[in-house]
């Protein structure tokens, strides 16, 4: 196996144990015979140890405080929205949207006017004039003489 190929594999698959056993064995054999590749392997090993020894820092507590307050704020806003939605629904139920409301109001007013009007008309003595039947009952053609009976003596006197 050539050094260039070994170097490539050392920096990736060999170091990360992603190679087949057979290829690993071939590289190990090469390393025994090649000091330059062996040196590269040592460097890569110490690089790995150094990186794994990289100190992990703890996340500052301030972060959780910020996250928690943001979550609690969102939750309270959500709750407010739930109550707001319920109130809106109730109001929509009680006060229907405008076109429907206008139609219902107009119909109600019309029905009330009709009802009140009928009540007034049905009261006795409201209109004491002759009814339409009486008015035209005696209207007749009698040869050339036209006789009108308007039902009152004054009218008959003048006519």
């Amino acid at each position: 196996m050539k050094c260039s190929k070994v170097c490539d594999l050392l920096k990736s698959d060999y170091l990360d144990a992603e190679l087949s056993k057979e290829l690993c064995r071939k590289i190990d054999n090469h390393l025994e015979q090649c000091p330059a590749c062996r040196l590269l392997k040592q460097e890569l090993d110490s690089q790995r140890i150094a990186l794994r020894g990289l100190k992990q820092q703890e996340a500052p507590e301030q972060i959780w405080e910020n996250v928690q307050s943001a979550i609690l704020k969102e939750q309270s806003e959500k709750q407010k929205n739930v109550f707001g939605c319920a109130w809106e629904g109730l109001m929509r139920f009680l006060c229907p949207p405008r076109p429907a409301f206008v139609l219902i109001t107009t119909s109600a007013v019309f029905i009330i006017i009709l009802f009140v009007g009928k009540l007034i008309l049905n009261q006795p003595g409201s209109f004491d004039t002759a009814s339409s039947n009486d008015l035209f009952k005696d209207y007749r053609l009698n040869g050339f003489t036209e006789t009108y009976n308007f039902g009152t003596e004054i009218e008959e006197y003048f006519l």
Partner: protein, 185 residues
């Protein structure tokens, strides 16, 4: 990252803040450190961590347990941190750029001189800073979290061969930097 039981996730999805706090305790270390390595300053890393956990909280209901929760958190954390890093770059173009450092040559005397004055941890951080965010994400998932190529590909939604080549280039860059530093000191 510590394993998180499904019942805890379900409780948190229903709005249980205590359950969500337990998830936070289990995952915040990884999220914060990934963010810190990628964005390179604690202020932005804190903002990234906060964003990541708010995203997790908002999307827990739709998570549906179709994939591993760990993979899901890794993906959100890495993507949010890389997005933030790019945003910082756009806002502050004069800032030190990973790609620029690499383009200058990892053996740049100024960078090395500065690095040699720092302690081991700082040197390691500086070493990581020679990588671009995508390479760095691969290295962190592989070396710190111990994920396989296939898992890293799943987290970052990239082909396995891309994972392989990113890791190879990252290690090459780190070696060059370390050799240069050694040569100078």
């Amino acid at each position: 990252m510590i394993e998180i039981p499904q019942s805890l996730l379900e409780d948190a999805a229903l709005g249980d803040v205590r359950a969500f706090e337990e998830i936070y305790q289990a995952a915040s270390g990884f999220v914060y450190n990934v963010a810190l390595r990628i964005v390179r300053n604690s202020q932005d890393a804190q903002e990234v961590t906060q964003d990541v956990f708010m995203k997790i909280y908002h999307n827990l209901k739709s998570f549906g347990f179709r994939s591993a929760f760990r993979t899901w958190i890794y993906r959100i954390a890495v993507n949010t941190a890389i997005d933030r890093y790019r945003q910082i770059l756009r806002q502050n173009k004069g800032r030190l750029d990973y790609d620029a450092v690499q383009a200058e040559g990892s053996c740049s005397p100024a960078v090395l001189e500065k690095a040699s004055q720092l302690d081991n941890q700082a040197k390691l951080s500086k070493l990581l800073d020679t990588l671009n965010p995508e390479q760095k994400a691969c290295v962190l998932l592989r070396e710190i979290e111990g994920l396989s190529y296939r898992d890293i590909a799943g987290v970052l939604k990239i082909p396995v061969n891309t994972v392989r080549s990113r890791l190879k280039r990252a290690r090459q860059a780190l070696l060059q930097y370390a050799r240069g530093e050694k040569g100078l000191t």
